[in-house]
Symmetry: D3
Subunit: 162 residues, 6 copies
C-alpha cells in the first residue's frame, strides 16, 4: 500500500473528480492537560468559564473551514456542519470536533484541524496562569462515508464489542 499523496515521487493532491458526492462525517478529539490551579479557575469561576469554552470552540470552527489553506494537500471544501464541544474533566480540557459534509472527499483533516486549533486556543487562554500545558492527544475517533470504509479508533471498537 503506497501513500496516496506520494505518486511519482512528488507531493500531490488526490484527484477526486471521478468520485461521487456523498455524506461524509468525521469526529476527532484533542486533550489538553492543565495544572490544578488553572483547572480550579476554569471550574469554579462561572463568569469566565463560558469564555474559555466559547473562544476555543469558535477557534476550532473557524479553523475547520480553512483546513484547505492550512494543510497543503487537502481539498478546499464547503462544510455542512462543524461542531466543537469543549469541557473540563478533572485536569484535562477535552475537545471533540465533528464535521459533516456532502462531497467527494472525507473530512478527517477538517475534524482534526478543528480539534487541534481549539486546543491551541485553550493554551492561549490559559498560558498566563499555566505555562506548562500540554496537548496530550489529537486523534481521529470516528469516520464514515466514502469508499475506504468507516473507521473507529481502537478504544471505541472495544467499547462497541462489550
Amino acid at each position: 500500500k503506497r501513500p496516496s499523496h506520494w505518486a511519482d515521487g512528488r507531493a500531490n493532491m488526490v484527484n477526486v473528480s471521478h468520485k461521487p458526492e456523498s455524506l461524509r462525517r468525521a469526529l476527532a478529539e484533542a486533550r489538553v492537560r492543565v495544572s490544578p490551579e488553572l483547572a480550579a479557575i476554569i471550574q469554579s469561576q462561572s463568569l469566565f468559564k463560558g469564555d474559555l469554552f466559547t473562544v476555543a470552540s469558535l477557534a476550532g470552527i473557524q479553523a475547520a473551514k480553512r483546513t484547505g489553506e492550512l494543510i497543503p494537500l487537502c481539498h478546499n471544501l464547503p462544510l455542512d456542519w462543524v461542531d466543537v464541544r469543549v469541557e473540563l474533566r478533572d485536569l484535562t480540557v477535552v475537545i471533540e470536533a465533528e464535521v459533516h459534509t456532502t462531497g467527494r472527499t472525507g473530512v478527517e483533516m477538517e475534524a482534526l484541524t478543528a480539534a487541534a486549533v481549539a486546543a491551541l486556543a485553550v493554551i492561549d487562554m490559559g498560558k498566563s496562569v499555566d505555562r506548562g500545558m500540554v496537548i496530550e492527544s489529537v486523534r481521529l475517533l470516528e469516520k464514515s462515508g466514502g469508499q475506504h470504509g468507516d473507521y473507529r479508533a481502537p478504544d471505541r471498537r472495544e467499547e462497541d464489542a462489550k
Copy 2:
C-alpha cells in the same frame, strides 16, 4: 493570578502598546506516533522521505505566519524567523518549531501553532497508510525575551541541572 485574557468577564486581547520592542524567541515541539508500516515507508524510501518532511515543514512555517488569524486573541505579528525541523525517531515523527521576532509580545503561540499544523500535515500525508496516527504531545519547550521571564520545560530544566 488571573488569566490575562479574562479581564472584565469577557474575552479580550492583551494591550501591548506600552511594552517596548525586544527580541522574543520560542521553541515548541509536536510528536506524531506512526505505525511500523508507515515508519518503514518514511525511513526506507528516500525518494518520498523528502516530501513528507518538506510538506510538514512548509505547513508549519505557513501556519506560524497566520497564527493571529487562527488564535482569536493572539496579536498579528511580522515574524523574523520560522524554522520547522522534522525527523523520524523510531515510531515517532518529531517536530521542533522555532520562532524569533522583534516585537511587543511573545511568540509561544506561533511556535506551538507551527508545530501543531506540521503534525496535522504529517497525518494528512500518511493517513492512507495508517489511519490510527496520534499527535501525542504538543508543548512549549523554551521561551526567552519579554517581561515574564524565560521558560524551559521541566524535562529541559532537569537536563540543565545535570
Copy 3:
C-alpha cells in the same frame, strides 16, 4: 422560537447536511452619508468617480466570498454570483449587494457582508475629505429560496401593496 445558533447553550453552526441544494438569492443594502463637500467631489469629478465606485464594489465582492471566514458561525460557500452596485444619491452613497448561490444554506450574510464592507471602503476612500461619514443603515432587502420562505423588507412590501 429559539435562535437556531443557540442549541445546548453553546454557539454552533446550523447543520445543513440534510437540506437539499437549491438556488438561494439575497439582496442587501448599505447607506453611507457623506458631507456636501465630499458629495461634490464624488459627483463632479468624473476622473475620480469611477475609482470610488469600483474600489467599493470590488471590496464588497471580495468580502462576500470570504463571509465564512469573517462571520464565525456562517458556512463557507462557493457563490454563483456577487454583484455590488454603488451610486451617489444626494448626500448618500447607496450600495446594493446581490448574491446568488446553489446550496444548502442561504446567502443573507454574504449579501450583508458585501454591502457592509463596500461601505467601509467608501469611508476609507473619502475619510481624508470627510471624517464624519456615517454608515446609516445596513439591512437585508430581499431573500428567496430555502425552507424558511421568502423575505421582503417592510418598506418593500408596502411598495408591492400599492
Copy 4:
C-alpha cells in the same frame, strides 16, 4: 482638499514610509436595532447571552486584524490591542471597538471594521428570530495620534463642552 487616495486619477495607497512611528488610537461604534422579541431573549436568558456577546466580540477582533485584506487601500498592520465591547441597551445592541497600534498610519479603519463585522455577527446570531434587524449606525467616535490631529465625533464634542 483632495482625497489622499485619488492621486493621478487612479486608486492608490498612501505612502507612509516617511512618517514616524507613533501610538495611534481609534474608537468606533456600531448599533444594531433588534426586535422586542430578540431583545427579550438576549436579556433574559443568561445562558445564551454570553454567547451572542462573545461571538460578536471575537468576530470583531478577528476582523480588525484582517482590515488590510478587506479594505483594498488600507495598510496591513500589526495591532497592539483590539477590544470589542458589546451590550444591549433597550432595543439596540451597542458595539464599541477600540484599536491601538504603534505605527506609521492610523487605525480608524481597523476600529470601524471591527465594529461593523461584530454587528454582522449579531445579525447572524439573531436572524432566525428576527429577520428585520438593521445596523443603524457605524461611525468613528474618537481618534488620536498622527499628523492630522485628534478627532471626536460631533456629539462627543458637545458632551465635552458641557
Copy 5:
C-alpha cells in the same frame, strides 16, 4: 463580442447560477529563465533539488485553492484536483499546473494562478544566487468542459495537426 466582466460599465462577476455542473479541466504553464550558475546548483545538487521543486509545487497548489481571493472577479470554488509539475530544462524551470473541478465555471484562472505563484516561489528560492531571473511566459495550454468549447494553445494545435 463584449468582455463578459464588463456589463453596465462596471466590473462584475459572471452569474453562473443557471449553468449546469460539469467537469472542467485546465492546464497552464509558466517558464522561469535562470542563470547557468543557478541551473547548475539546481541540477547537480540532488539534496537541494527536491526542495526547490517541492516548495514551488506546494506554493502553486496552495495558490490555486485561493484563486477566488486573489483574482477579484473569479468565483471561489472547491477544486477536485490540483497538480503542479516542476522541472528544469536547460536554463528554464518549466512549471505545468493542472486543475480539475466539477462546477459551474471553468478553472483556467486557477491553473494560471498556480503556475504563476509556483514561478514566483522559484524566484524566491533562487534569488540569492541569481537576481536576474525572469518569468518569461505564463499562459493557458489547454482547457476543456463548459459551454464555450475546448481550447488548445496555438502551438499545441500545430502539434495535433502533425
Copy 6:
C-alpha cells in the same frame, strides 16, 4: 555562493532578527500581450478602460499585502506603500508595481507578486474576448536598501550608462 534558503538541506526562512530596520524599495514589472481586438476594446472604450486598469491595480495591491501567505519562505511584513500602475502600450498591457517598507528584509517578492497577480487579473478581465493572452515577462526592475546592495535590471543599467 549557496542559496540562502537551502541551509542544512531543508527549506527554511532566512533569519532576519539581527538585521537593522531600514527603508527598502523594489520595483517590478509584468507584461501581458493581448490581441488587437482586445487592445482596441481596452483603448477605445473609455467607460470600460478604467475598470480593467483599476481591477488589475487593486488585485496587485491586495496580493502584495499577502505575499507572505503565497510564497512559503517569505516573511510576512507590514508594507508602507504599494503602487501598481497599469497601462496599454500597443498590444501589451504593461504593469509596474512598486513597494516600499521599513523593515528587516527586502520587498522584491512583494513587488513581483503584485505585478504577477495584476497580470493574472488582466487575463481574467479579458479572457472572454481573447483566450490566447500571454504574460510575457515578470521581473525585478530595481531594488534598493538592505545589505546586499542595490540592483538595477541589465536594460536599466544600459540606459543609465547613456
